[in-house]
């Protein structure tokens, strides 16, 4: 580690809380807010003094944001702090800020991102020495670090979705670079749907491609009345909402294919095949061969299936199914 411990050796002092700049979050790593920390401080006192830097316009918190906030909440007039002695480099402060968090507890994704970001901002040669990252327990793989860093600059709602595990790291990397409105709209949707990564990916792809095709913003596609209605429907659970939204988007993205699928299913339903006889079309109606699957256990069942097959061959809807594929089972029109 590029240690300058001699320069940053600190002393503990009692300072007025009002002298600490409450708006300076530059070294904040934690994503937790004070919540009930003030209760434990009230009962046990402040067990460890926060770390601050003596800045030109007051003290800047380097580590201990929640403790300072808890003391404020308790109405304290002053607070014991460890003060970093000047001149202290900002990078040394960043290392202290990160180390006092990362060496005490596992960091979540947003905290890791903040840690990398704050170190990166002040790193002496523009990038964090890998030895420092390793010593602080941060990822040292350059590719992973590059993906993590932007997380903490994404819109608050995206970060909140990541913290709730409603949006995975992989998905955050996908929606993060989108225009802000879209990233927020996706995060909001996924916080409500609580659906899997694959389904999220499908939704993002469908929405983005519809938007690109129509020269619109993704957020506008996501605010279409049909989608909003499903999201707000009180009689649907998460899974049902997800399923309906995927279906609606698919119909928008692939109107002719989705219509052909619907018509195929409607025709197939009219055949009343039952559970022991299944008819599957060629995938996406591209190939030419349909598949019939017969399920049976006993000879009598085979006999019944044979009779059913005989009926099927003469059924007009079956003929329509076999011959109408190329027209999407109707007059498929060009979009």
């Amino acid at each position: 580690m590029a240690s300058d411990g001699g320069l940053t050796e600190n002393c503990t002092r009692l300072i007025p809380l009002a002298d600490i700049d409450p708006g300076d979050d530059r070294f904040r790593i934690t994503t937790r807010r004070s919540d009930d920390l003030h209760l434990s401080v009230q009962r046990l006192g402040l067990l460890a003094a926060p770390l601050v830097l003596d800045g030109a316009d007051g003290f800047i918190v380097v580590s201990g944001f929640r403790r300072v906030e808890a003391c404020r909440r308790l109405g304290w007039g002053s607070i014991p702090v460890r003060v970093l002695r000047a001149p202290t480099t900002m990078y040394a402060c960043a290392i202290k800020a990160v180390g006092e968090n990362s060496l005490e507890r596992p960091l979540n994704l947003i905290e890791t991102s903040r840690a990398l970001h704050v170190l990166d901002q002040h790193a002496p040669e523009g990038s964090i020495p890998p030895e420092d990252a390793a010593a602080l327990g941060l990822p040292t793989h350059a590719g992973l670090a590059a993906k993590l860093k932007p997380l903490c600059r994404m819109p608050e709602e995206v970060q909140a979705a990541v913290l709730e595990n409603a949006v995975s790291f992989a998905m955050a990397c996908e929606i993060g670079p989108l225009e802000e409105g879209a990233a927020v709209a996706f995060a909001r949707l996924f916080r409500r749907l609580k659906t899997s990564l694959n389904k999220q990916r499908e939704i993002v792809t469908l929405v983005s491609e519809i938007a690109c095709r129509e020269g619109r913003y993704s957020r506008d596609v996501l605010s279409e009345a049909g989608l909003l209605r499903v999201q707000d429907a009180e009689d649907l659970d998460h899974n049902q909402k997800t399923q309906r939204i995927r279906r609606l988007l698919r119909q928008r993205r692939f109107p002719a294919l989705a219509a052909a699928e619907d018509r195929f299913h409607a025709l197939r339903q009219r055949l009343k095949l039952g559970e022991n006889l299944q008819l599957a079309p060629p995938r996406d109606f591209e190939g030419t061969r349909f598949t019939l699957t017969l399920n049976f256990e006993r000879l009598e069942e085979v006999g019944r299936l044979r009779a059913q097959l005989d009926e099927l061959v003469d059924h007009p809807d079956f003929k329509t199914l076999l011959t109408g594929k190329g027209r999407g089972f109707a007059g498929a029109s060009v979009p």
């Binding site: 519809i210 993205r253 052909a260 995938r283 109606f285 999407g328 498929a332 029109s333 060009v334």
Partner: protein
């Protein structure tokens, strides 16, 4: 795109063709011991795909000059043979498969023409009709400003009666071909599209008007002419747009001089999609209704292809019923719907094309090579 730098494989540095190209290009030149040096330079660029269009690498073709058309078994292929004169292209079409085909893509031109000539001699002495083209891994005529290859090839094909050479292009670089005795053994072919597609997707190519004017010039010079509506891009109103192109085509070239017209709906390898999205963010071409075809390529949903290809075929055949119209990489179901027959009913696509080549190019008959 203009060539900004020339790399020369040390093995071909002293060849007269190399020196001639250097003189004609007049750009900074660097001799390299290995293709890896060129690839490394191109790969280091911010946009290697675009960068590869601005450097020309003169080298030897260490493999075969003649290759079979890379068709797949699920869809009907034309059975064309590719004469591999070079690779990649100076034009920049969003949908070009060559962007994802070479890693990294580099404009290469092969100088060892004596090897090509002897391979061609062997091929042209085989029995049966053959259709050979240079426009698969590159545009046939982008090389004209710096080389005389097309002229040399056209003269070589003029000395035999069993094969036709198809030069497929989106340029108008035919001046060097107009005054030679081609004996109709060279087909000048243009890839055509709607004004809208050319404007939005075909950067650096000749306009539709210019292509049709060049085709008319080629026809006046007695060349058999071919057209390729490939890729057909399905969008709102595209059928009418394609009908208008057909009208203009027949206003430029008389039907009796057209050897064939192919129709191929846009299809692409999955790897190409992110390339198009990255390099052509304004292009909407990949947002059509695509499904995964039997060959793993993205293709328009079949009924959409069938409808547009049928409409285009009808537009052509209503003007020129005798013209050989064929579909590129489609199955029998699409053929029957769009054209009313399957290739097998006419002896196979290769035979249909051989017969068209024989009729328009005056080739001798004989059993097919394949």
């Amino acid at each position: 795109m203009k060539i900004a730098a020339l790399y020369i494989d040390a093995q071909v540095a002293d060849r007269p063709d190399t020196r001639r190209i250097c003189r004609r290009l007049g750009v900074p030149t660097q001799t390299v011991a290995s293709a890896d040096d060129v690839y490394a330079d191109v790969a280091a660029a911010e946009d290697p795909i675009g960068s590869g269009k601005q450097v020309l690498f003169l080298t030897r073709n260490k493999g075969a000059f003649l290759k079979e058309c890379p068709g797949t078994r699920h869809y009907t292929c034309c059975g064309y043979r590719i004469l591999h004169i070079g690779s990649y292209c100076t034009m920049d079409c969003s949908y070009c498969i060559l962007q994802a085909y070479f890693h990294p893509p580099v404009l290469q031109y092969y100088i060892n023409h004596e090897d090509m000539a002897s391979e061609l001699d062997r091929c042209l002495s085989e029995p049966g009709i053959q259709r050979i083209g240079t426009g698969e891994f590159t545009d046939s005529l982008i090389w004209e400003p710096w080389t005389d290859l097309s002229r040399t090839l056209a003269l070589r094909f003029a000395r035999q009666d069993r094969a036709v050479l198809e030069l497929k292009t989106k340029t108008v670089n035919i001046n060097g071909l107009l005054d030679i005795g081609h004996r109709r053994k060279t087909i000048l072919a243009w890839s055509l599209n709607t004004e809208r597609v050319i404007r939005s997707e075909e950067r650096g190519t000749a306009s539709l008007n210019a292509r049709l004017r060049a085709a008319a010039q080629g026809a006046q010079a007695g060349y058999p002419i071919a057209f390729h509506f490939d890729p057909v891009v399905i969008t709102d109103g595209c059928e009418e747009d394609y009908r208008q192109v057909v009208e203009r085509l027949f206003a430029a070239v008389p039907p009796e001089q057209i050897v064939w017209i192919s129709l191929g709906a846009f299809r692409f390898m999955p790897d190409l999609k992110p390339v198009i999205q990255r390099r052509f963010p304004d292009s909407r071409i990949v947002y059509g209704e695509f499904i995964v075809g039997l060959d793993g390529k993205a293709r328009y949903f079949k009924p959409l292809r069938m409808q547009v290809l049928q409409s285009l075929a009808q537009a052509i055949l209503s003007r020129a019923p005798q013209t050989c119209v064929y579909l590129c990489m489609e199955d029998d179901e699409v053929w029957r719907y769009a054209l009313g027959f399957t290739p097998a009913e006419r002896g196979g696509l290769a035979r249909m094309l051989d017969e068209a080549a024989a009729r328009i190019g005056g080739l001798g008959s004989g059993p097919r090579r394949r």
